[in-house]
């Protein structure tokens, strides 16, 4: 059994496998072959596959997205990479008007098998233009698949599946997941796009979460479990397609729903999930469904402000106590909340992080 690998290494393994399998696959992005290798997710690939397949690019996101789409029309399978989601906005014309629409508007005569990887920034003062989380934006557009794997195992399996998918896939990688380690099979395997996964079972509340918020949800559920409250945690893994059926089945059991998201609350994916579950399991709900997401302001840079900006496990825990009708001031409530308090700086993914990116 080999040692655990990080999410970043898992992404790298998926890329390596697909590049080896199919000569039509290539990777392109600002800094893809540079010394930092996109947080090590492309380490070793330039040396193995050469500069015609592991490509840097000028600062022309819109044009290069079009280049990827055009090459896709001739059967190539490009993987584009943006070190921050925010850079991708320069390419919205190509992503929305072409990638998402081409095969539909040309009646199946133009498949666009591209993957666009983008990183969601957080912490260390990333600030307003280096920290957005655009799953809602892209999921609103028909024709795009949008996925946000949380764990290394899913990162590898879903990236292989995404590269093999014949349509455009937006692949969102949260920066605070890149260093996380897990046992991951050495060979290739696929994980489905558009299918959620149950992380913890429980019968008192369904806690559905996206991307990094699954880590928070899991820690919160583990704390509640120590006080005999069993929360069912669901890692949604994708926002388009969105697997509300798994959440509906869970809510039929628990009667309560909270959804955690990594982006702003208004018009976010949590709203979509809550709508779908309410429509299908309204009579099973014992309390109104709840969402916890970012406030509708932009990410501030200073640590005291960003601490206020990102919901803490304690704040989420308080909301869960309300849903479960456990008074926060009660002994049980107090014990749970004190178990959720996080020590140390909140603007780093792990304590040894020294910045800058």
């Amino acid at each position: 059994m080999r040692p655990d690998i990080t999410y970043a290494e898992a992404v790298r393994e998926a890329l390596d496998y697909c590049l080896g399998q199919n000569e039509n696959v290539f990777v392109v992005g600002e800094g893809v072959p540079d010394p930092k290798r996109i947080f090590n997710t492309t380490a070793g690939l330039l040396e193995k596959y050469g500069p015609q397949r592991i490509m840097d690019m000028p600062l022309s996101e819109n044009a290069l997205t079009g280049v990827c789409i055009g090459s896709g029309l001739l059967g190539m399978r490009p993987i584009m990479v943006h070190q921050r989601t925010d850079f991708a906005y320069l390419a919205l014309d190509q992503i929305i008007n072409n990638a998402a629409k081409w095969n539909y508007m040309f009646n199946g005569q133009g498949e666009v098998p591209i993957v666009i990887r983008m990183m969601i920034g957080r912490g260390w003062g990333q600030g307003p233009q280096h920290s957005s989380s655009p799953q809602a934006l892209f999921s609103h557009i028909p024709g795009l698949k949008v996925v946000m794997p949380t764990r290394p195992h899913d990162a590898k399996g879903m990236l292989i599946q995404a590269i093999e998918d014949n349509g455009p896939v937006i692949f969102l990688e949260h920066r605070w997941l890149h260093h996380m380690k897990e046992a991951v099979p050495e060979g290739p395997y696929r994980e489905p796009l558009g299918k959620a996964r149950i992380v913890r079972t429980g019968d008192s509340l369904t806690l559905a979460a996206f991307s990094y918020s699954v880590i928070e949800a899991t820690k919160i559920a583990d704390t509640f479990k120590r006080h005999e409250v069993e929360i069912e945690v669901i890692d949604m893994r994708s926002t388009s397609p969105m697997d509300h059926q798994t959440v509906v089945a869970s809510v039929r059991k628990t009667g309560r729903l909270m959804v955690l998201d990594t982006s702003w609350i208004t018009c976010g994916v949590a709203a979509e999930l809550v709508s779908r579950v309410s429509e299908e399991a309204f009579n099973e709900l014992k309390s109104p469904p709840a969402r916890v997401a970012l406030p509708d302001v932009h990410t501030p840079t200073s640590p005291t402000l960003s601490q206020e900006f990102y919901p803490t496990p304690e704040a989420i825990g308080k909301k869960i106590l309300n849903l479960l009708e456990i008074k926060p001031s009660s002994t049980k409530g107090q014990k749970i909340l004190s178990g959720l308090i996080t020590e140390g700086p909140l603007d780093v993914p792990f304590l040894d992080f020294k910045g800058p990116f």
Partner: protein, 325 residues
């Protein structure tokens, strides 16, 4: 007749065909059965025919909103174009695209879409793919003077020059972007010089002289291959009718009647017709027979379109890729 002359007549025929198709479309648009915006290329027919005469079937072409000419010049199926404009299932996009979204992959007409500059980087993509695969193919992207102002065009100039892509941009400068004249949109300087500054090889000419367009295009295709550098071609031409729709809009006065009249005197179809007649390459009788032959073909294509069925509503979700709710 020598091959060269036969070739000339063939190109004239293609130009006349586009002209007549556009005229019939304009006439029948008033029947209100072609329910989509339509941008006709009357007056601009020499550019598509001249450029495509230098291309092989395996070469690829991308178009824009005013694409009927490029589509037909590349060899696109007339029946499927008319059916598409009628919104029928036998249309080239099964009725999903209309006039503004045409495709015919049998002849590598890769697609035309109406977001100005949208297809420009796609042309770089197919050029890159053919380069990586070692294929002897050229990609042509057609656009107008307005498109030159879009940022992605300059990103594309930069990248194509950097990579030495086998791509040819053909800019039809008809001076107008809808109602807005070039002088309100660009400073007084040459577009070709900018392409050159980006590292491209450039050429330009009279877009209403089909022979000139054809010769310039032939040389550009040859240079792409021999020099390994992308090519920018700028042709002056003029749109006779309104930007979008079947009518002329001279009454709006945004273009002087003198200007319109002077360009109509330089009609590309008439110009070549006069040339061929005066050289006695063809006779008036030949012209009449071409015209009749083309009108018959057009009549049949409209019949095909009208007899074709509309797409069934249950095909709405086909090729949607993302699992609609």
């Amino acid at each position: 007749m020598s091959n060269l002359i036969t070739e000339q007549v063939k190109l004239y025929y293609e130009m006349l065909r586009i002209r007549l198709v556009e005229e019939v479309l304009a006439e029948r648009y008033l029947e209100e059965e072609m329910r989509c915006p339509m941008h006709l290329c009357i007056g601009q027919e020499a550019v598509p025919v001249g450029v495509c005469s230098a291309l092989k079937t395996s070469d690829m072409v991308f178009g824009n909103h005013r694409a009927h000419g490029y589509y037909l010049a590349k060899g696109g199926d007339l029946n499927r174009m008319i059916a598409e404009i009628y919104g029928k299932s036998d249309g080239c996009c099964g009725g999903r695209g209309g006039s503004m979204h045409l495709i015919d992959l049998r002849v590598n007409f890769m697609g035309s879409t109406p977001i100005v500059a949208g297809t420009v980087p796609l042309g770089l993509g197919t050029a890159l793919a053919s380069q990586l695969k070692g294929k002897d193919q050229v990609t042509v992207v057609f656009f107008g003077d307005g498109c030159f102002e879009e940022g992605v065009v300059h990103e594309s100039f930069n990248y194509a020059a950097l990579m030495g892509l086998p791509v040819i941009f053909v800019c039809e400068n008809n001076e107008y972007s809808v109602y807005t004249h070039l002088k309100s949109r660009q400073p007084k300087r040459s577009m070709s010089k900018i392409a050159e500054a980006h590292g491209w090889e450039v050429d330009s000419g009279n877009g209403n002289d089909l022979n000139q367009v054809a010769e310039i295009s032939r040389q550009a295709v040859s240079r792409v291959k021999s020099d390994g550098r992308p090519q920018f071609l700028e042709f002056d031409t003029y749109r006779w009718l309104e930007h979008c729709g079947p009518n002329d809009d001279d009454h709006l006065g945004y273009r002087s009647s003198d200007q319109v009249a002077s360009w109509k005197k330089k009609c590309p179809v008439q110009y070549m017709e006069n040339q061929l007649l005066s050289e006695k390459t063809i006779t008036q009788k030949d012209l009449d027979s071409y015209r009749n032959s083309i009108m018959d073909e057009i009549e049949l294509s409209f019949k095909f379109a009208q007899e074709s069925s509309f797409p069934s509503p249950d095909t709405l979700y086909r090729f949607s890729n993302s699992d609609p709710f």
